[in-house]
């Protein structure tokens, strides 16, 4: 049994709030979860759910109110373990008086690489994130998307075993998103452990071995993307074309939804054949029969609705 790459136990974070910081606002509530070695784990949740808080706790940028966490079997307070970790902060911002090459070279120094090695790595990373022509431009002139790319480059510069990415796709155009997706897939192929947060479900569906859904500071569920979706009761969807003038079809058509020349009918699995028979009798032309799978998005919305009161509170505090 190998140790999990990231092991979080009962992690709780309160932020001071209110007049003169006399009150406390719980942003993360007893989070317990694990990310296995070599796994790509998607941390899903709406804005203000506590995703960034969790990642900042893991990186020692803020400190937990209670609970603990280990990365690669070592407590998060152990800064030396950062040798094996890469972190992309949310909406990253870097020293604007440096160029991208200078910044990466500066960061590379903390890993003890030789000058030649630093140079080679910096070049390679700039190329990887598509900034090879912008390496000599000061970061103050960078767009948000370019900063995001630099952020990704500095996170994977030292080939870390564990990569923690806070909203890696935000601020990017469709091409940028695609490139970042490819980089994450490559990291995955290399066997690195990836924890990334997003509020965009398709990204998570495409990249993750497992996802954890967090709302209002509480973890609502963890599982494989398809597993999580499979949790909900399913039904069948029948698409058909039919004659509106037919008296026999009228009863069925009343239940169906019309889109263009077609009708769609949702029925429970057990009454599928009965309905098909009825449609056949009415002379309808059946074009497709398919299982209804709720998307991750629907599951997500379902959880968010469940937690609506809390979500509303988050909106007030959120940006």
């Amino acid at each position: 049994m190998t140790v999990p790459a990231i092991q979080i136990e009962d992690l709780t974070k309160d932020y001071p709030a209110g007049f003169l910081n006399t009150k406390k606002k719980r942003s993360l509530e007893s989070l317990t979860m694990q990310v296995e070695e070599g796994e790509a784990f998607g941390f899903l949740g709406p804005n203000g759910a506590g995703k960034s808080t969790t990642m900042k706790l893991l990186m020692g940028i803020i400190f937990p109110t209670s609970g603990s966490a280990k990365i690669l079997g070592r407590p998060i307070s152990d800064v030396e373990m950062h040798k094996d970790i890469g972190y992309l902060p949310e909406q990253p911002y870097f020293y604007d008086y440096l160029t991208a090459s200078e910044l990466l070279d500066y960061f590379a120094r903390f890993y003890g690489f030789s000058a030649a090695e630093r140079k080679a790595r910096v070049e390679k990373m700039l190329k990887k994130v598509g900034l090879e022509t912008a390496g000599k431009i000061q970061l103050r002139k960078y767009s948000k998307g370019m900063l995001q790319r630099v952020g990704l480059a500095q996170a994977i510069l030292h080939q870390p075993k564990v990569v923690i990415l806070d909203e890696p796709m935000s601020g990017l155009d469709p091409i940028g998103r695609r490139e970042v997706r490819d980089i994450i897939l490559e990291l995955k192929r290399d066997g690195r452990t990836i924890l990334f947060s997003t509020h965009i479900l398709t990204d998570a569906e495409m990249l993750c071995d497992r996802v954890g859904v967090i709302v209002g500071g509480k973890l609502q569920g963890v599982g494989r993307p398809d597993e999580i979706v499979g949790l909900k009761a399913q039904g069948m969807e029948i698409l058909f074309e039919a004659d509106t003038g037919n008296a026999k079809t009228a009863a069925i058509l009343a239940k169906a939804a019309k889109s263009g020349s077609r009708y769609a009918l949702h029925v429970p699995e057990e009454s599928l054949y009965l309905t098909l028979d009825e449609l056949k009798a009415a002379g309808a032309k059946i074009t497709s029969v398919a299982q209804i799978k709720p998307t991750l998005e629907e599951y997500f919305m379902h959880l968010v609705e469940k937690d609506r009161a809390q979500a509303a509170a988050i909106e007030v505090h959120g940006k």
Partner: protein, 258 residues
């Protein structure tokens, strides 16, 4: 050690790129005007005026940079969130602090050396030659640097737990208070109560004591400074900075970044 050095060198690079050293232009102009002007009046005290003026300017410019840049060293990185990526590297918070301190002290050393060179040029212009006693000017410059280092450490400490504006006020306040150490220790005989006297005498040992750092008069008149004073001041500044930086590290290491 190499981590601290990396942070320090980057801090120096930042100061250079943010044009901190441009103050040298102002100093150069001041020295040129003074040299020409003093050369005109020629009362036999030209070099005294040049040295006093030059050392005062070196001290004031250095202190201003120490306070204003010193307070921003850490708070700017917290404010702009540039610290997030850096602290994710294998670097401890105290190493970052010490590196920042070292970087600004390095910047100020370069800056002060350049100003001292300017002062000697101005002196050469009015006197046409140097004497051995002019070496005291170098000692005065060195003491100013020690003083500046202490001020940087204080600015750093305050910026670790208050807003930049308050940190500037506190640092400046402590510096000014440090100029009145002598008075605080000699309150006896005045009308204040013994409790207040005890308080001030106690506090006078916490405040930075710059009494022995001012050898401007000796430098201006070409008098020698005892070697033991150099040793004593160096030790005082080193210990004072170490204690203040240790305190700053304790505060900063517990701080939740925003």
């Amino acid at each position: 050690m190499s981590r601290i050095l990396s942070v320090a060198l980057n801090t120096f690079r930042e100061a250079v790129r943010d044009r901190v050293l441009y103050n040298l232009v102002f100093f150069a102009l001041l020295m040129m005007v003074a040299a020409v002007f003093v050369g005109q009046i020629s009362l036999g005290i030209e070099s005294t005026i040049i040295v006093s003026l030059g050392l005062s300017a070196i001290s004031i410019i250095g202190l201003l940079i120490a306070v204003f840049i010193g307070v921003g060293l850490v708070s700017k990185e917290m404010e702009k969130r540039t610290l997030y990526a850096l602290l994710a590297k294998p670097v401890r918070r105290w190493e970052f602090l010490v590196g920042k301190f070292g970087g600004l002290v390095l910047t100020l050393t370069v800056n002060t050396m350049a100003m001292a060179a300017g002062l000697f040029l101005a002196l050469l212009f009015v006197k046409h030659s140097f004497e051995a006693s002019d070496a005291t000017i170098l000692i005065a410059v060195y003491f100013i640097l020690l003083k500046i280092a202490i001020v940087v450490s204080l600015a750093l400490l305050f910026s670790c737990f208050t807003s930049p504006l308050l940190a500037i006020l506190f640092t400046a306040g402590l510096y000014v208070a440090g100029l009145f150490i002598h008075e605080m220790r000699n309150l006896s005989g005045s009308k204040v109560s013994p409790a207040v006297q005890a308080f001030f005498s106690w506090i006078s040992y916490i405040l930075p004591n710059f009494e022995n750092f001012n050898v401007m008069a000796a430098a201006a008149h070409g008098k020698a400074v005892p070697g033991i004073l150099i040793l004593q001041n160096t030790a005082y500044a080193a210990i004072y900075c170490a204690i203040v930086l240790a305190a700053a590290s304790v505060v900063f290491s517990r701080r939740n970044l925003k």
